[in-house]
């Protein structure tokens, strides 16, 4: 296997930071070699410098995409941490619906927009969709839009297909939900159309401006800011605060906090979980 030199580590981690905001620990040599090594071999490059040079010179960004796919940690599962989905079911969605339907007294379908800001292979957004489906039997009364975005093309593509292998499907999904919302074809499980149709997906780098996405009532931004440095985390959550509805809510990863990162949010507790709302 090709070894990576200290200088190459410096160059490559700076490059990865520039294209994705992912901040890699330069002492973790194995991380570079195990994640980028196979790409190096497949592309037939003899050194990491060559990988870097070719990636920079590629106008189609094909190599850049491959590097992001290789370096990003897409680890996710259905109903990860359970708490946030309980919050969604018992607190956040009912509150929003109460507030909105009081305001518009049934003239228009109540609209709810939800964003999974680093959706990886889609498990998070489909878990949200399943909660909504079960919570709101009469879907027609609502105008629900779910958006999943991620920087990794491969992850977004899989999310969009809604296809999972048996290892992915086993994680976090109770048997009854599996039977109800997925169908088996060959060795893969596919999300049923009724759930798939609730969500849309697109590629998005959270380091770039995203105000054009519009306003959201609920934002899931979980387990992605942990890969960014403090400055970038601050910027990210500020941008999220900008596009969150005044009564909207933000859910972060179970081991993440916003103290010292974004004072515009205040934590609220519901049962054993926390969600954030904008300070009044």
């Amino acid at each position: 296997m090709t070894k990576i030199t200290p200088n190459e580590i410096k160059i490559i981690s700076k490059y990865i930071y520039d294209i994705s905001g992912i901040y890699l620990d330069q002492t973790k040599i194995y991380l570079f070699e195990t994640r980028l090594g196979p790409l190096l071999e497949k592309e037939g490059f003899s050194s990491y410098s060559e990988l870097y040079q070719k990636a920079r010179a590629d106008p189609g960004k094909k190599l850049e995409i491959k590097i992001i796919d290789a370096i990003s940690t897409n680890e996710t599962l259905f109903f990860r941490d359970t708490g946030p989905f309980e919050v969604l079911r018992h607190k956040v969605v009912p509150d929003i619906i109460d507030a909105r339907s009081a305001k518009f007294s049934g003239l228009l379908p109540t609209s709810i927009r939800i964003w999974s800001a680093a959706c990886s292979t889609g498990q998070e957004i489909y878990s949200i969709a399943i909660v909504l489906k079960e919570l709101l039997p009469d879907m027609k009364k609502y105008n629900i839009k779910l958006l999943g975005t991620d920087i990794s093309d491969a992850a977004v593509a899989q999310a969009s297909y809604g296809k999972y292998n048996k290892f992915e499907i086993e994680r976090g999904l109770a048997k009854d939900k599996l039977q109800k919302y997925f169908s088996l074809s060959g060795n893969t499980w596919k999300i049923k159309d009724e759930i798939r149709a609730m969500a849309s997906f697109r590629k998005l780098n959270l380091m770039l401006p995203f105000a054009a996405l519009g306003k959201f009532d609920i934002v899931f931004c979980r387990n992605v800011a942990i890969y960014f440095n403090m400055e970038d985390r601050k910027k990210l959550f500020n941008k999220i605060a900008d596009l969150l509805a005044p009564d909207g809510c933000l859910i972060v990863g179970s081991t993440e906090t916003l103290s010292g990162i974004c004072p515009r949010f205040e934590p609220k507790r519901h049962m054993r979980s926390i969600f954030y709302q904008l300070k009044k």
Binding site: D81, S254, T257
Partner: protein, 189 residues
């Protein structure tokens, strides 16, 4: 003793004897079934790590039937099919239905034992990954609870601090009074 529990299924007595002996020498814990029907009965009662079955068997339950019964009962169990050259196509069909691998007759025992080693290693790896995931889940769950508790108290303390600084800066209120209100805020829970 090796760590794999094996069920061997074959309707031919000579093959059964030979296989039993070979597996015994290699110290595998082995159960023998004389046909598919008996195999299905064993599978419903006991748990095996590997089911090694002949593909073509008389009596209603063939190798595919054994495979299906195994996967139904315990998906973790790996099934290896043994097949004559003429029925390779069936073996491929079986792979699609979740068989781990197939071996051709006459059985090459070196090949069989290599395959069993491979299965054993994969099982160990799977177990290690499962343990790791479980350990990570427990740690993450604990960390999450601690972090979220801290987050709530930080937010509460921040609230108190801003209330206190608001009170203390009220020039029109008597200094002693301000301090006393501030102390009240601090001691309130």
């Amino acid at each position: 003793m090796k760590d794999l529990k094996i069920l061997f299924v074959d309707d031919d007595p000579v093959t059964r004897k030979l296989m039993e002996k070979k597996l015994q020498i290699e110290e595998y814990e082995t159960t023998i079934a004389v046909n598919g029907v008996e195999a299905v009965d064993f599978i419903s009662k006991y748990r095996f790590d590997v089911v090694l079955t002949d593909l073509m068997m008389p009596g209603g339950v063939d190798g595919i039937g054994v495979l299906q019964a195994t996967k139904e009962k315990s998906p973790q169990t790996d099934v290896v099919l043994i097949t004559a050259y003429a029925s390779i196509d069936n073996a491929v069909t079986a792979m699609r239905q979740g068989a781990f691998d197939y071996l051709q007759k006459p059985i090459n025992f070196d090949e069989l034992f290599l395959l069993l080693d491979k299965i054993s290693n994969l099982k160990k790896l799977g177990k290690a990954a499962g343990d790791l995931r479980e350990a990570m889940d427990v740690t993450e769950c604990n960390a999450a609870q601690t972090i979220q508790d801290l987050e709530m108290s930080v937010s509460e303390l921040n609230g108190k601090i801003s209330e206190i600084s608001h009170i203390l800066s009220k020039k029109n209120v008597d200094a002693a009074k301000r301090v006393s209100i501030a102390l009240d805020i601090i001691s309130a829970t």
